[in-house]
Amino acid sequence: MSNVSITLHNNDEARGLIAAIQKDNPNSVSHVYPGMVKIDCPDRIVIFRESVELEIGRSWTVNEIHLSLISLAGNVDEDDDYFAIHWNH
């Protein structure tokens, strides 16, 4: 089993996104660095639009992830309602 990961800005704009990821991926581990948060999780991380919207109290499109994203490791799958990162092996 390998970790996938997503690294996001650690700022006010990304706070809701980070909280949503942590809630929806209970196996994830977050590492806080200066200015950024790296979230690792075995095999798969998924981000649900609804969860993010619940956190930030406004509508959110999956594309907006580009404003907070710093890096990721894994294959990307995205649609209207979710953004997922996974390995295929």
Partner: protein
Amino acid sequence: MRMMIILPFIGIIERETTMNVQKKISLKDRYRILTRGLDWETSYQPMGKVFPDVGFEGIKIRNWDDFNDPFRLTMDAYWRFQAEKERKLYAVLDSFSQNNGQTAITDGRYVNTLKLFLTGISPDEYMAHRGFAHVGRQIPNAGLRISAQMQALDELRHAQTQIHTIGQYNKHFSGLHSFRRMHDRVWYLSVPKSFFDDAVTAGPFEYMVAIGFSFEYVLTNLLFVPFMSGAAYNGDMATVTFGFSAQSDEARHMTLGLEAIKFILEQHEDNVPIVQHWIDKWFWRGYRVLTLVAMMMDFMLPRRIMSWKDAWDIYFNDAGGALFGDLARYGITLPKYVDVPAKEVNRLSTEAWSIFYQYTHAAAFHTWLPTDQEMDWLSASYGPDWDRLYRPRFLHWRQMEKEGHRYYNNALPQLCQVCQIPMAFTEPDDPTRVAFRDTVYRGERYHFCSDGCKNIFDHEPEKYVQAWLPVHQIFQGNCGGASLDQVLDWYGIEKGVDNMDYAGSPDERTWKEWEAMRGRVAG
């Protein structure tokens, strides 16, 4: 009898369609319609003539439509997000310049890492821009082409924002003023320059594997994270900001690189050995360029973030392992010579810094010997061998400095024909013996620093014999003249200002003046 009123009837139907409460189109569909629908099969001019560069590399594509777009960005969203990022970045840059942010760094020596970056890396961002424009012109598939085009735009962004960010340092420090001129001429800058020249002159598929995959996916974290974290640890908030901002584009680029390579591998089994060789080649080529990063991390940052060894473990061994696990089902294996970096890891940065220390008179940044404390950190990071093999060397040089005989190497070094680094690396299994490899091609002998570089040459000798080798060029009289002074003039290096040791440099004087000023204000 509706058939009797065909024309109005069509009209009514159409009105009804537009008046219906309209269903929402999904992100995937919207992207597909707006992007993938744009292409057509040309017929007045044959496709082979419209896209002439996709055939010669031997890559077989059964169906271009199989390409799976990683991020479904349309241009409107691209403009919106990128504008937002740029507004934020330039607000920070403006405030950095208004507040003289360059005075807040840990130490004046730190600026030398920025010199290495602006002269070595930023011009390569520009080259990446042109390379992706070429792919964005040549690939006969709308999805891949647009992703490449957006990356071409992004890479221009990186070059330009780096110039604007480091431009503030250029106003106060030496060695940055002629970064463009230097990149095309100075001996050690031919290492990153030849790397990108190599990629851009390759075919579009190789370029995607070289830069999109091997560089962006496998190695980029080793380049950017050390520089950006280094900036963060050393108080350079402007560089941190552009770094993080650029990384958000890199995440998109990495994903494109991975999707592109999977697409090529899935199209035909004959593609696998071709791609494997490219992975082998570009892994090694990239690793050799990263020598400069290793040196920057272990010797040039006043406040260290982590050792080169730690970075290699985290960003190559861990992350790379998962990645190659994913590619194993296509028959792709870890790159050839992947074991060598582990064997060199304890000495790579030391061997590199030693080169620059000896040739400080011909460099566009300053050098210095590590302090006792810094040597303790190196030995803690690299183990007892470091103390045994390298501490004595630095102590010896320190003694020579004390006696007024600072050591300069005035002989021009032999360069590796492929990576163009002076031949100073030692044997993977014996750190006391310098490694030499050679090949005779068409009656001429060519020299290499390693099996990795020799292997690259032997696959494409006709390409690598063309290399513009700085030392050869000096001997041939193409670099302004035969004396060091003439060559430095030609390089654009200001003598006694840009080169030589940090101690006694104008940079050091500037930094000490600022420290004194701070003392007065505080007092």
